[in-house]
């Protein structure tokens, strides 16, 4: 059986849903593709509204389909993976809309658009995107309602009731969604795939090549938010340790090859000034966490390696929350094993001869005193170098080129060349990358660390002091490290308005809580929640709780919806009963089951005068009940009126 043909307004509603689903992709799919989607949508709508209610001719459809599929293939190169897959799905929905003619097609569009809207969360889970999706849900429900209602009744439906209806449905479904969200069992391991392809966001790279262009520096995206429990370190003490680079090939710094015996924490002595904190890390496709220098206790499931990298065995997918403990003062590895010492002194066989020679001379001048050599090198940086992100490209020997030629650079250049000099001078050293500093959000009481806070520094090993952090950048541009860390001061002159900063802070707070409550909610967290509720035997009680929760909710919903409105008492009967009740006070009671005429007959003998007056009303009552073909509404009204006016 064919479903009914869509009307013009219904078709518009269908297009609206597809358009709204595509809005969610504006930021993620190529502009050319989006433009094509929307122009086909517009063309189709114009065709339907102004030209014909038949779909395009077959050849036009074939051309449109070919154009869409070719554009998807050309712009995306693939139809697999996140971008390619969603682009293909979007194209298929647009194709479906081209041939949409009946209610059934509209239903297909609705279902596919819902799926498309869900997939958009693979690109972005920010609260702003969630808000956009919420609007999509409103549009979807409104249009589904509209299409079904217009199809079943000929009358045109107004806009306001539809909006009210969809808003109402959304409001009722939210608590249901919340209950399910909290109680629904999660997968601790993905069923297929790595589970992480959803966040192929480019975060910090796992190598460092000074002279290559850095895009992180100007990116204001928050990476993590940290809350300190009792003691807050000074901003210049906030070094968030990420990766530790040992291997240098003349151009780039890399991590050492992963070795199993490397994966155990180093010896740490003289621990002082312990700091406890909680971090909410935004998704980056990576296998490490950022901990405050010097990390002491790794979060659950994570491992501290020999060089104090916090290794996380699975890829961090989704927002992740963790607690950790660090010390501001500690002696790390007071005794350096010889094999590590060799690693920390290794230089490439060739290249950068000038720097090598300068390192050698440092060694000779300092006479084996490491502190002296370090001071000398830092003095060099302090006197002759400029801190800037606009760096010239470096030549074949990047360290030489930087140290003796360009002398302009930022943290990567400084830490890289400093470490090189130290190694050349015979001092074991390594490069550490991570984040430095952060902005304090006064509203939420937490620190925001952004991509632009990415930083690189050096560590040297000194006899008796262990690994010591040396930040050559601080020698060049102390303001980079010492800057005032409140968001408001930092933003400069362009926006003096307080409210703007308030809004900015509030927005970040919203993002923080959103991530905390929704995005990072995991199986582990769910278990914690149940633990907090005193449920430790997961499997069984867990399910019981879900069932009980949903059961109670179902019951409440059912009771709420199905509280039966009683059929209103027939107004005619009501008027008649009220009249007889008044007559009862006059001593002329009607028996409960007495018919009007029988009542009049009985009244005739006791009170003929009253009976005569009531008679016309009894007649009218009978007529309303048993005679067909009278002016129903009018007669009812006049009957009720005369009953009310009757004075006994």
């Amino acid at each position: 059986m064919n479903s009914p043909v869509l009307g013009a307004r219904q078709f518009l509603a269908c297009t609206l849903v597809v358009g709204a689903a595509l809005v969610l992709y504006l930021r993620f799919l190529p502009a050319l593709l989006m433009l094509l989607f929307y122009s086909i949508l517009g063309l189709r709508l114009f065709w339907r509204l102004k030209i014909s209610n038949k779909p395009f001719a077959t050849y036009a459809r074939v051309i449109a389909v070919c154009a869409l599929v070719c554009t998807v293939l050309l712009t995306m190169k693939t139809v697999l993976g996140r971008e390619g897959g969603t682009a293909l799905l979007a194209a298929m929905i647009v194709i479906k809309l081209i041939e949409t003619e009946r209610t059934r097609d509209a239903h297909v569009c609705f279902i596919a658009s819902s799926f498309l809207a869900m997939s958009a969360f693979l690109f972005d889970q920010s609260p702003l995107h969630a808000l956009l999706t919420l609007i999509f849900v409103l549009v979807l429900i409104g249009c589904m309602y509209f299409v079904q209602e217009e199809a079943k009744t000929a009358a045109k439906t107004a806009f306001t009731p539809i909006l009210k209806e969809s808003g109402f449905q959304l409001a009722l479904a939210l608590p249901f969604a919340a209950v399910c969200f909290v109680l629904f069992p999660r997968l601790s391991t993905p069923l297929w795939g790595s589970g992480s392809q959803s966040f192929a966001k480019t975060g910090m790279s796992d190598y460092m090549e000074p002279g290559a262009i850095s895009s992180l520096a100007l990116d204001d995206t928050p990476v993590m938010r940290a809350k300190f429990f009792d003691r807050v370190p000074l901003p210049q003490q906030m070094y968030w340790r990420g990766l530790i680079f040992w291997d240098f090939d003349g151009k780039a710094w890399r991590e050492p090859e992963s070795m199993p015996w490397f994966r155990q924490p180093p010896e740490i002595e003289g621990i002082a000034d312990q700091i406890q904190y909680e971090v909410l890390l935004d998704p980056e496709n990576q296998k490490w966490l950022y901990l405050l220098d010097t990390p002491l206790v790794a979060p659950d499931n994570a491992i501290l390696t020999q060089d104090l990298k916090t290794y996380y065995p699975r890829n961090v997918f989704g927002v992740m929350q963790y607690r950790a403990t660090s010390a501001l003062r500690a002696t790390v590895q007071p005794r350096l094993p010889p094999w590590q010492r060799r690693m920390a002194l290794r230089l490439p066989d060739r290249g950068n001869p000038q720097s090598r020679a300068f390192g050698q001379s440092l060694r000779e001048r300092s006479n084996g005193d490491a502190n002296l050599a370090i001071a000398e090198a830092l003095k060099l940086f302090n006197q002759n170098f400029i801190y800037s992100f606009e760096t010239p490209l470096l030549g074949q020997d990047p360290i030489d080129d930087f140290l003796f030629n360009t002398k302009i650079g930022f943290c990567e250049h400084f830490s890289s060349s400093f470490t090189f000099l130290m190694r050349a001078a015979g001092i074991p050293s390594r490069v550490v990358v991570g984040f430095q500093g952060g902005y304090f959000n006064g509203l939420g009481g937490y620190w925001v660390i952004r991509r632009s806070d990415a930083h690189a520094w050096s560590e040297v090993w000194i006899e008796g002091r262990g690994w010591v952090r040396i930040d050559p950048t601080a020698a060049v541009a102390p303001e980079r490290i010492m800057r005032d860390q409140s968001m408001q001061r930092q933003a400069g002159e362009w926006a003096q308005n307080d409210w703007l900063f308030g809004a900015r802070e509030r927005l970040d707070l919203l993002r923080y809580y959103w991530n905390l409550a929704i995005v990072q909610f995991s199986a582990q967290r769910q278990t914690q929640l149940l633990d907090a509720l005193g449920i430790t035997e997961h499997r069984t009680k867990y399910l019981t709780m879900i069932l009980v929760g949903c059961g109670i909710f179902t019951l409440l919903a059912a009771l709420f919806f199905l509280r039966m409105k009683t059929v209103p008492i027939d107004p005619v009967l009501l008027a008649w009963l009220r009249l007889t009740a008044r007559l009862e006070k006059r001593g002329a009671a009607k028996y409960p089951a007495e018919a009007p005429m029988a009542y009049i007959d009985r009244l005739q003998s006791s009170n003929p005068e009253l009976a005569a007056r009531v008679l016309p009303l009894a007649h009218a009552y009978n007529e309303l009940r048993y005679r067909s073909g009278i002016q129903y509404e009018e007669a009812i009204k006049s009957f009720i009126r005369s009953c009310r006016r009757f004075r006994a």
Binding site: L122, I141, M144, Q148, A155, L170, F176, L187, P190, L562
Partner: protein, 326 residues
């Protein structure tokens, strides 16, 4: 083989019968009730539509995907849509609750024709869209406006005499088209179908040989148009003046009439050369014709003589007696 397939058929037939008895409210085994018939939640049944089913499957796929990618926002989105779908079950079922069928009216109904029955509904809800009535193959959409609805349902009438209406199914897919809720209304009140009038009009001549003939020597054509009048429920559809109706708000009917005072006698005994049903059919046609032309007539049936008269009441009485002939 044959016996096995027969067995299978018998088994399915008995299973169906058992199922129908188990759920009489769903099926033709629904006991007939007298008006008014009010719908309450115990007699409203609900199943997902095809759209609802596919949507549900898609939601399950979305659930699996978002769980696999551990994407909580997507999971929340899926639950939100699921919540809306879930609540729609109640919304759909509740949409019909309280709806009651108060009255059914129809004008004169002739056997075998499609007559329009006027159904009056009441609801505690002031407005209620997207309702449908189904009877046999006929589907009529309707809406409650200001607590009331009047639905004109075309029904194919049965044999002459007292007939029972086939169960009427009230259904809705409100509000999102995801679920189909329905309830069966079996109406106890029978209706009277007058016999089917003969198609060809035989001359209004009972007996050509004696004084008992009525009718006229020369019959006017049927196109002896008299006037338009408003359509009344039960009027034959073929008499509707379509062109004239198009210009008006309500339907108009062509009325043919030939006013005369001549008395006509329609005699059962005079038509003994015809089969019984044919005889009834011809007499009916004559009565209808006479009524239309405004003649006064007398109807002589085996047990009863009616008339002569030319009143509406007489007309109805004649048709009723003809309908109820054994």
């Amino acid at each position: 083989m044959a016996t096995r397939s027969q067995n299978a058929t018998a088994f399915w037939a008995s299973a169906l019968k058992w199922g129908e008895r188990l759920l009489p409210g769903l099926t033709r085994y629904k006991r007939r009730e007298s008006l008014p018939i009010a719908l309450h939640r115990k007699r409203i049944y609900i199943v997902p539509t095809r759209f609802g089913l596919v949507f549900g499957i898609t939601l399950a796929a979305m659930l699996l995907g978002s769980l696999n990618f551990n994407n909580n926002s997507a999971l929340f989105f899926t639950f939100l849509l699921s919540g809306i779908v879930f609540l729609t079950v109640f919304r759909t079922a509740n949409h019909m609750a309280g709806l009651s069928l108060r009255k059914i009216e129809a004008g004169p109904v002739f056997s075998g024709e499609t007559a329009i029955f006027d159904l009056r509904f009441e609801s505690p809800k002031a407005r209620c869209n997207g309702l449908r009535l189904r009877q046999g193959t006929q589907t009529v959409p309707f809406a409650i406006v200001d607590h009331h609805a009047a639905v004109a349902l075309p029904i194919k009438t049965g044999q002459r005499g007292w007939n029972e209406l086939d169960p009427i199914i009230v259904s809705t897919e409100f509000p999102l088209g995801l679920f189909y809720a329905w309830s069966v209304m079996g109406i106890a009140e029978p209706y009277l179908a007058y016999p089917k009038p003969e198609e060809r009009l035989a001359p209004l001549q009972a007996q050509p040989d004696d004084h008992r003939y009525g009718g006229r020597k020369e019959r006017r054509e049927e196109t002896d148009w008299f006037a338009f009048r408003d359509y009344r429920a039960g009027d034959p559809i073929k008499n509707i003046a379509w062109k004239a109706s198009a210009k008006k708000e309500n339907w108009l009917l062509n009325e043919y009439r030939q006013p005369t005072s001549e008395e006509t006698i329609f005699d059962w005994e005079a038509l003994l050369f015809l089969e019984k049903e044919e005889r009834i059919s011809r007499l009916t046609r004559w009565v209808v014709e006479a009524g239309r032309r405004g003649l006064a007539w007398q109807l002589r049936l085996p047990a009863i003589n009616l008339g002569p008269a030319n009143t509406e009441q007489h007309y109805r009485q004649c048709l009723k007696q003809l309908a109820l002939l054994p």
